[in-house]
Amino acid sequence: MLNVSGLACSRGERRLFTDVGFSLDPGEWLHVQGENGAGKTSLMRLLVGLSPADAGEIRWRNEPTPSVEFRRDLIYLGHHAAVKEDLTPLENLLLAAALDGVGLDERTALAALVRLGLRGREDLPVRVLSAGQKRRVLLARLLTRPAVIWVLDEAFNALDVAAVRLLGDLIAEHLAAGGMAVLTSHQPLPVPGGKALVL
């Protein structure tokens, strides 16, 4: 499904990595590891098509990316909160889905927020929530937006023990349903299996 070969990237004048390649099939996930500054985030951004690669190729369903199909199948959660502070969690989810052109009813959105432990916070502006809670609002998108491949950059940061376990469960469910995931982190992840890629 996802085939990456010969990927190279440089930041400014510095070469970050060359000749990175891997492939993922349904149910598999990739754990990208490396020191600070090794280029994990850069690889993620290349992968999703935010920045162009110096060399190499990324193919999704045998088509070169970025394609509309790839974007439809993709969820990317990066370092940013990616939620609007002035809107409530519920509004954030509904509007994000509307921008993506994905149908989402209030019931599903509410269920996602409840599952992520944000019960009672649906109608507060995100601004007043804690960093971990903001992160949970973002993670709720994993449940409200159907996608095949999840690209999560440092998704386990700023989460408490319960939320780490919850995210682990979500990823495991996603993989069991034939999904794929690419994750970065320094710590071992609470998800079994997985290929490793060290930068």
Binding site: G12, E13, R14, R15, P52
Partner: protein, 223 residues
């Protein structure tokens, strides 16, 4: 290759200066003051032409994703801005004795001023972005937007000018161009051309060395 362009620039320049000062006769209406056009006109031509070349390189860079085109555009901009500045300066010095004012809101002068601002914007944008590749692309988009806008700006300013024409200044009533004047202007234009090419090539060399300093061939090239 660069020395050849320098040599050509100097030869054409000397020839052009000779004609403009010693061969071209005194103008009946404007006296000796008209000799300014021997630098004014080439500078104005170059300022416009360099923008077109810059936009061409920029477009090429965006379409084909080649690195050198961005560097070319970047190298051309200061020279283009210089030409625009010279054109404005000499235009003012010509206008003062001829029209009695340093500056009139004539269509050409106004467009030239705007062109100068466009150059400044291009250079400021490139200087403000740290990542050279991003700077190239952003600059390229700006140059292309500018190139679409230049004719619109020119015609709008021209129209605005005719609507507001208070005094009877007519730039188009240029003295009938004598053959010698045309030659002088042509030679000066060629000199400006060669100068621009030489200086832009020099600058692009510096830019290439700056940007590609970590590649092997640059390390060997400096020896």
């Amino acid at each position: 290759m660069i020395p050849w362009f320098w040599a050509a620039a100097i030869i054409f320049g000397v020839g052009g200066l000779w004609i403009s000062f010693f061969v071209a006769p005194t103008d009946a209406q404007q006296g000796e003051g008209y000799r300014i056009i021997f630098v004014h006109v080439p500078a104005s031509w170059m300022s416009m032409f360099i923008y077109l070349v810059m936009a061409f390189w920029a477009g090429l860079g965006l379409a084909l994703n080649t690195r050198v085109s961005g560097m070319m555009a970047q190298a051309l901009a200061p020279t283009g801005a210089l030409m625009a500045a010279l054109s404005l300066w000499t235009g003012a010095l010509w206008g003062k004795p001829m029209w009695g004012a340093w500056w009139v809101w004539d269509a050409r002068l106004t467009s030239e001023l705007i062109l100068f601002f466009l150059y400044l914007g291009f250079m400021a944008l490139q200087a403000a972005i740290d990542d050279p590749r991003r700077a190239d692309k952003a600059g390229a988009i700006l140059a292309l937007v500018g190139v679409v806008n230049i004719p619109i700006i020119y015609f709008s300013v021209k129209w605005w000018n005719t609507l507001h024409q208070g005094s009877t200044i007519n730039l188009n009533k240029a003295p009938s161009m004598a053959q010698t004047m045309l030659w002088g202007m042509l030679l000066m234009a060629l000199a400006f051309w060669m100068y621009s090419i030489a200086v832009a090539l020099m600058r692009v060399r510096a830019i290439i060395l700056e940007r590609e300093r970590h590649t092997e061939w640059v390390k060997h090239a400096v020896e």
